[in-house]
């Protein structure tokens, strides 16, 4: 069986309305080949890119949400630290005020004490001066009395004998 017997080139026409078995089979195959080709060359790449874009968008949204959450938590953190800083500042101020008050009180106390000391010393000095003055006055008076007595008696009195006598007199008179 040669090729001529197997294949014949014809120029006839098929009937207008007929179903040719082989054409039908080949058309079914053609349809499935077309489905495969359209799937491979159109749907697969396009769906792939659509999915990728979808993922990208989802990722962007997710990232934005995460960033927002982070920002919120940071905000909370800042707010709490700010509150803490405020209270700390208030604490510091009140501490400082207290310390200053204590210091001022101490200063005043010191000053008062010092003033009291000075007053006391001054009083003691005055007392001493007074005593000194009185003693001096006693001595003077004693001397004077001796002179007067000597002049009155006109005789030499033993100064030492009489001095004791006079001092006794003065201490009885003064103080």
């Amino acid at each position: 069986m040669g090729i001529k017997a197997l294949l014949a080139v014809t120029a006839e026409n098929q009937a207008l309305v007929t179903v040719n078995f082989w054409t039908l089979i080949l058309q079914i195959c053609n349809l499935f080949i077309q489905v495969f080709l359209i799937k491979k060359f159109l749907f697969k790449p396009i769906n792939n890119i659509l999915e990728k874009r979808q993922n990208l968008a989802d990722k962007a949204i997710k990232e934005a949400r995460e960033a927002k959450e982070e920002a919120d938590s940071l905000k909370d953190q800042y707010e709490s630290s700010l509150t803490k800083a405020h209270s700390e500042a208030a604490q510091i101020v009140s501490d400082a005020q207290k310390e200053a008050q204590t210091k001022a009180d101490a200063l005043v106390q010191d000053a008062q004490k010092e003033a009291a000391d000075i007053k006391a010393r001054a009083a003691a000095d005055i007392e001493q001066e007074k005593k000194k003055a009185i003693n001096e006055a006693k001595d003077e008076i004693g001397g004077l009395a001796m002179d007067i007595a000597g002049k009155v008696v006109e005789k030499e009195i033993n100064e030492n004998d009489h001095k004791k006598l006079i001092e006794d007199f003065i201490s009885k008179v003064g103080a």
Partner: protein, 256 residues
């Protein structure tokens, strides 16, 4: 220009003798050759449209390709009302685009593969197989057989008939519309050719003889009638065929 008008079937370019009885010889017809051309066009278009795809700043070409895919997705999802049938999308899209391009290729002077009943029969057979497979998958084989006896057992022959009528009607509807387009286009060209021959034949002498052979009136009017018989009919039938495919399969997937 012939005085007779006739519409003939697709040309048979070659016959391969298979030697198989009953089934007959494998004939390489115009239908098959044009179908291969159609497939080449579609595949080439797909490859062209999906070249250097990008995530951002997409080209018009990519936007168009994405629109086509979205249209296919939406067509199937809207007509079935769910995403259960997403596996059907490439099939329905391939069916639609093959049908449209096959119908419209007649505008280039080639014979539409859809003007051969074998093509539509092949498609309808595939769809019928899918419908039946879906029914059996949904209700089980027993349930599928039992479905023929509803609502009463007497209805069984009619149910079988209506079941078989589905692919036959789908194939014949599509074929009939396209064939009618072919016939009407042929008629119009033939009539206009006759008219121009008669008109230009009025010119005396050899000039008139020569000019009367040119169907000058065939320019213009067929383009207008072609809007309906080729463009509208071609797109409409492809749409109807795909719509019916999706609806029948979606119905088959419902319990019943």
């Amino acid at each position: 220009m012939s005085k007779e008008f006739s519409v003939v079937g697709p040309k048979v370019y070659a016959t391969i003798r298979t030697g198989i009885p009953v089934l007959g010889d494998l004939k390489i017809t115009e239908t098959l050759v044009v179908t291969w051309i159609v497939m080449l066009i579609i595949t080439g278009l797909c490859i062209f449209l999906t070249r250097d795809l990008k995530m951002e700043n997409i080209s018009k070409r990519q936007a168009f390709a994405e629109m086509l895919v979205e249209m296919g997705n939406n067509f199937v999802r809207n007509n079935t009302g769910s995403t259960k049938f997403d596996k059907l999308i490439p099939f329905v899209s391939a069916l639609f685009v093959t049908s449209v391009v096959s119908n419209l290729i007649s505008l280039t002077g080639l014979r539409s593969p859809t003007a051969d009943l074998s093509t539509e029969a092949a498609w309808a057979l595939v769809v019928f197989t899918m419908i039946t497979a879906t029914k059996i998958k949904t209700n089980g084989f027993g349930g599928y057989l039992k479905g023929f006896t509803t609502p009463i057992a007497v209805m069984t022959p009619f149910n079988i008939l209506s079941e078989l009528a589905t692919p036959v009607s789908m194939a014949c509807r599509h074929f009939g519309n396209i064939l009618s387009g072919v016939v009407i286009d042929g008629l119009i060209y033939w009539a206009l050719g006759l008219a121009s021959a008669a008109l230009l034949g009025l010119i005396p002498g050899a000039v008139g003889d020569f000019l009367s052979k040119i169907p000058i009136l065939g320019v213009g009017l067929p383009a207008i009638t072609g809007v309906y018989f080729d463009w509208f009919s071609g797109c409409m039938q492809a749409f109807i065929f795909c719509m019916l495919t999706v609806m029948y399969i979606a119905n088959a997937a419902e319990e019943g």
